[in-house]
């Protein structure tokens, strides 16, 4: 079982994702440079956070043009699990692998803080075994995490059970006070129709160990390992 951690110019959560996978979860992981055009031999793909190309254009707008994104598209079409975290989510949006867009936080400021998430579906490889309604404590760190999509798209996401996480309070209530960035319908993470591609603004790789304040992020990677295990079995 081998996971790919993509590295673009300006990725900066690549080491954190690698550490979580390799040293905490204990699965094999390797960095994959953005100029690679193949993901052969990998069982899962992590697109880590960061500021690819400085986010000087729209977040993710440059990174989507890298050769490796063609391989990601093929990998996703083949049903392989892909998780885009923070800037990785933004890249998936720009690449059209997920619907919608990101705009600047409604506070117009960068936010780094722990938030609570309410799980919306267990149908992705990363949330298998995390029942709907589960509350997870996972940090966010972003300037452009205000998820936007038009109303029909949002309704479509809900109807097709593609809303994977919403911002909520510690009790699991989805309220406007618990929405850190103004995201439409408190959306923190969504998946594609097939369910194998997940994009989320919060950083599960930052909270896989209790010493860091929460180990809830570990549950996503454990779920991924279990899912891959079942698939190969």
């Amino acid at each position: 079982m081998k996971t790919a951690v993509l590295v673009f110019p300006g990725s900066n959560c690549d080491h954190d994702a690698y550490h979580a996978l390799k040293h905490v979860i204990g699965v094999d992981a390797a960095f994959v440079w953005h100029k690679e055009s193949s993901l052969d031999g990998f069982d899962a793909v992590v697109i880590p956070g960061g500021f690819t190309y400085g986010d000087y254009l729209r977040s993710g707008a440059m990174a989507k043009l890298s050769p490796v994104m063609g391989a990601v598209r093929r990998f996703a079409e083949g049903g392989g699990p892909v998780i885009g975290i923070c800037n990785g989510f933004q890249i998936l949006l720009e690449a059209g692998l997920l619907p919608g867009a990101m705009i600047v936080n409604d506070s117009l400021r960068f936010i780094c803080d722990y938030v609570h998430l309410r799980a919306g579906t267990d149908r992705t490889p990363f949330t298998r075994g995390i029942p709907e309604g589960t509350v997870l404590k996972i940090p966010v760190a972003h300037y452009q995490g205000n998820y936007y999509a038009d109303e029909p798209t949002l309704s479509g996401l809900e109807e097709r059970r593609q809303v994977v996480f919403r911002y909520c309070d510690p009790e699991g209530e989805v309220t406007s006070a618990s929405n850190p960035n103004g995201s439409a319908r408190n959306i923190a993470g969504i998946c594609n129709e097939a369910g194998n591609v997940l994009g989320m603004m919060p950083h599960p790789e930052r909270c896989t160990e209790e010493v860091l304040g929460s180990a809830d992020g570990r549950r996503l990677f454990d779920a991924m390992v279990a899912w891959l295990g079942e698939r190969t079995a």
């Binding site: 110019p9 300006g10 900066n12 959560c13 080491h15 954190d16 550490h19 979580a20 040293h23 960061g50 500021f51 190309y53 400085g54 986010d55 000087y56 506070s107 400021r109 960068f110 936010i111 780094c112 803080d113 940090p139 760190a141 300037y143 950083h203 790789e205 930052r206 160990e209 010493v211 860091l212 304040g213």
Partner: protein, 743 residues
């Protein structure tokens, strides 16, 4: 294009005195070219030469068993065991941040990061110390927003967590804010690189961003003087590009894993000039450089401009001969410019060529060794005695102590700084074990069980009243903060922010502060391994408080023994260690300033022998798991320290019921808000009480049992009682409210 002829008048415009210009003529044996004049003027500037501070900086202890590199390199290096070392430095970016807060602060962060990774270390944490004018000053809100978002913009993008710092406000900074940035990196001993240009024939390689006209020092001169085309005046503040710096960081670290290079240095202040001359000076070599090969962002740049540009995100590398290809390959992979611009020579001359002719030819040893050194006159200011006079008995007593307490906890100096640090990515790299908001931040060192504790401190009110004692306090307090977290201070970096050194009273402040700091460093056994001096922090003749900021680095052999300032559990006992250090010290206190509008008196006294014992006791108590929390008494005295331990916990506010540690007859406001040096508020589970008291006797630390954690009120019996939640709300909202910022 004709160059303006060099004269003593032009030299003066470059900041060189007549005597200094005379020395230039003597060294060269001729009139310098304009480029040479520029080189001398920046190399002999206060910023690069430390000409007014050098004689005093020598007073710092800079050696110790752990010190691998003291002052003089890009950053200091201290051993942390297991073949690892920490590399750190603090630097000021005060003037640029006042002119253009976002870019000024951002490039301050970028510069200090380069100082650390140029030595081979991966930066793992940044801190900053920020001082602004009065919150109600019309420019303050703009400056705070700009500086904070500049630090965030650069640090977050490059992916180095900003884990702590300090923010304070005083009228003396109205026209001169302070932005001091600190970065720490970790390196394996064998991967340490220095800024040296050794090996005759080795190529000199330029990497990173292209050179533009930004930040050229001659801000006072019209560019028309050296170019007949009258150009627009360029802003002197550089513009940062954290994305390019991220690429530069990764490319440099990748290159340093090879052995293709000999030395490397950041092009910081004075850019290509200081990096080339300093590297050759350290190696005792010379160099020849061809400026036509410097990657350029603008057309028609003169050699003067190319040598003096402070464009950001550039490095100068001396590679091994024949290994240029490897350097090129790595930098091209990261889409960065790379160009061989010269080579190392053995004649001790720095030779600069441009369009086929030599535009500068300077003996390097003379430039660096004969740089001016001044022992400037120092004199205690006439007004110092008047400043130190304070009659506490004459201060009106507040009618409602509870209300005063809430007011102090919500003043911007004391209030929660979450508005600030929420904008900094403080978790990236997943090492931050103690998040911002405690006495010290603590980071783990992956692959070991060790932790690094960091704190940055300076009480500039104390320093203005007595710079010697204030200097001692800056060192003691930062070391105490680190000790509260359970760590041993192993080294410090400083940023010495002062007014105009040509004024004897400023020089007296400077000398006194350094002597106080040095004395405390000696007593606590902490070496100064890096730092920076920022003079001329004056506007319209009015100087700032002397502000010698100290960034302390502590080591926890076992990171699991770390402690925080917030109380941990209901029912824990509350104790005060160093209770005999309490006294009615109102001088320079937050209470005196916020409530009575005065900065007067003398700072609280320091007992260095006690301080050392106290800090050893704190470490031992943490290591033996005898304490649950530790928080030192500083601004706001006993009452504010107690309140902080109750309300700054991640789990939300908790109450406490305690006795006052002061005698019953003490005036109540003084008992609550007097400040002192050497007292620490502890909490422990009742089961640990006896062992903790035994330990305190072993270290001869006076300890007083005060009360218990729990309940919904913070109650100092007989003095004041407030709701913990109410206090927490006032403290959480105080910062944004005082500055009129959105929460």
């Amino acid at each position: 294009m004709k160059e303006k002829p060099v004269t003593s008048f032009l030299a003066r415009e470059h900041g060189l005195s007549d005597a200094e210009y005379g020395k230039v003529l003597e060294i060269l044996g001729r009139v310098p070219t304009l480029t040479e004049l520029g080189i001398f003027s920046v190399m002999w500037s206060e910023h690069c030469s430390y000409k007014s501070s050098r004689v005093h900086l020598k007073k710092f202890p800079t050696k110790g068993p752990r010190v691998l590199q003291g002052p003089g390199e890009n950053a200091g290096i201290v051993d942390i065991g297991e073949g690892l070392a920490v590399v750190f430095k603090m630097e000021s970016h005060n003037h640029p941040s006042f002119i253009e807060p976002y870019q000024g602060a951002a490039t301050g962060v970028g510069g200090i990061l380069r100082d650390v990774f140029t030595m081979g270390a991966r930066p793992i944490a940044s801190l900053n110390s920020l001082r602004f004018g009065r919150p109600e000053h019309p420019r303050t809100r703009y400056l705070v927003s700009g500086v904070v978002s500049g630090i965030a913009g650069y640090g977050n993008c490059i992916g180095v967590p900003t884990v702590g710092g300090e923010v304070s406000f005083d009228e003396c900074y109205d026209g001169n804010i302070l932005v001091n940035a600190f970065t720490l990196g970790v390196v394996r001993h064998e991967r340490i690189w220095l800024g040296t240009a050794a090996g005759v024939g080795n190529p000199v390689v330029y990497v990173g961003s292209k050179t533009g006209r930004d930040g050229i020092h001659g801000a006072t001169m019209a560019s028309g003087e050296f170019d007949e085309k009258s150009e627009e005046k360029r802003p002197t503040v550089q513009v940062g590009d954290p994305f390019t710096e991220k690429l530069l960081l990764e490319a440099c670290l990748e290159l340093m894993r090879t052995d293709a290079i000999v030395g490397i240095q950041d092009m910081g202040a004075a850019g290509l000039t200081s990096s080339s001359f300093e590297m050759a000076s350290r190696a005792g070599t010379g160099f020849v450089m061809d400026l036509d090969r410097v990657p350029q962002r603008e057309e028609g740049m003169t050699p003067y401009e190319l040598m003096l540009s402070e464009s950001q995100e550039r490095m100068l590398i001396v590679a091994k001969k024949g290994r240029e290809g490897e350097v090129r390959e790595i930098f091209e992979k990261w889409d960065l410019d790379v160009s061989v611009i010269g080579e190392v020579t053995g004649d001790g001359i720095g030779r600069v060529r441009w369009r086929g002719k030599v535009v500068a030819e300077i003996p390097i040893a003379a430039l660096t060794d004969q740089a001016p050194v001044y022992d400037r006159p120092a004199e205690r200011p006439e007004g110092q005695d008047a400043l130190q006079r304070l009659d506490p008995a004459g201060l009106p007593a507040p009618s409602d102590l509870g209300e005063t307490w809430v007011r102090l906890m919500s003043c911007p100096e004391m209030a929660d700084k979450k508005w600030v640090y929420r904008q900094y990515d403080h978790m990236i790299r997943t090492n931050t074990l103690v998040l911002p908001g405690s006495d010290a931040a603590v980071l783990r060192v992956k692959g070991t069980g060790k932790g690094i504790a960091l704190s940055v401190d300076c009480n500039s009110r104390y320093c203005s009243l007595d710079p010697f004692v204030g200097g001692m306090i800056a060192v003691c307090e930062s070391a105490r903060n680190v000790a509260c977290s359970g760590a041993e201070p192993i080294g410090l970096s400083d940023c010495l922010n002062f007014g105009n050194p040509e004024k004897p009273e400023v020089m007296w402040q400077f000398r006194s502060a350094i002597e106080g700091m040095a004395k405390a460093c000696e007593a606590l056994g902490v070496p100064v391994v890096s730092g920076n001096v920022s003079f001329y922090n004056e506007t319209m003749g009015k100087g700032i408080h002397p502000t010698p900021t100290v960034a302390m680095v502590g080591l926890l052999e076992d990171a699991s023994k770390r402690r925080v300032q917030g109380f941990s559990a209901e029912g824990d006992l509350i104790l005060l260690a160093g209770a005999d250090r309490l006294g009615l010290h109102l001088g320079g206190s937050l209470y005196l300033k916020e409530v009575h509008g005065k900065v007067a008196g003398t700072p609280p006294p320091v007992d260095l022998a006690h301080e050392k014992r106290l800090q050893e006791f704190l470490r031992e108590a943490a290591a033996a798991d005898l304490v649950a929390s530790a928080h030192d008494l500083s601004e706001g005295g006993f009452a504010c320290a107690l309140a902080e331990s109750c309300i700054s916990r991640p789990g939300g506010a908790i109450g406490a019921r305690v006795l006052s540690p002061f005698p019953e007859a003490t005036r109540p406001d003084f008992a609550m808000f007097s400040e002192c040096q050497g007292a620490v508020l502890l909490s422990c589970p009742p089961s640990k009480r006896d062992a903790l008291l035994d330990l305190s006797r072993r270290f001869r630390i006076t300890i007083m049992e005060l009360g218990v954690v729990g309940g919904e009120h913070i109650d100092i019996e007989g003095l004041a009682r407030v709701g913990a939640a109410e206090l927490r709300t006032a403290w959480s909202e105080g910062f944004a409210t005082a500055l009129g910022l959105e929460g």
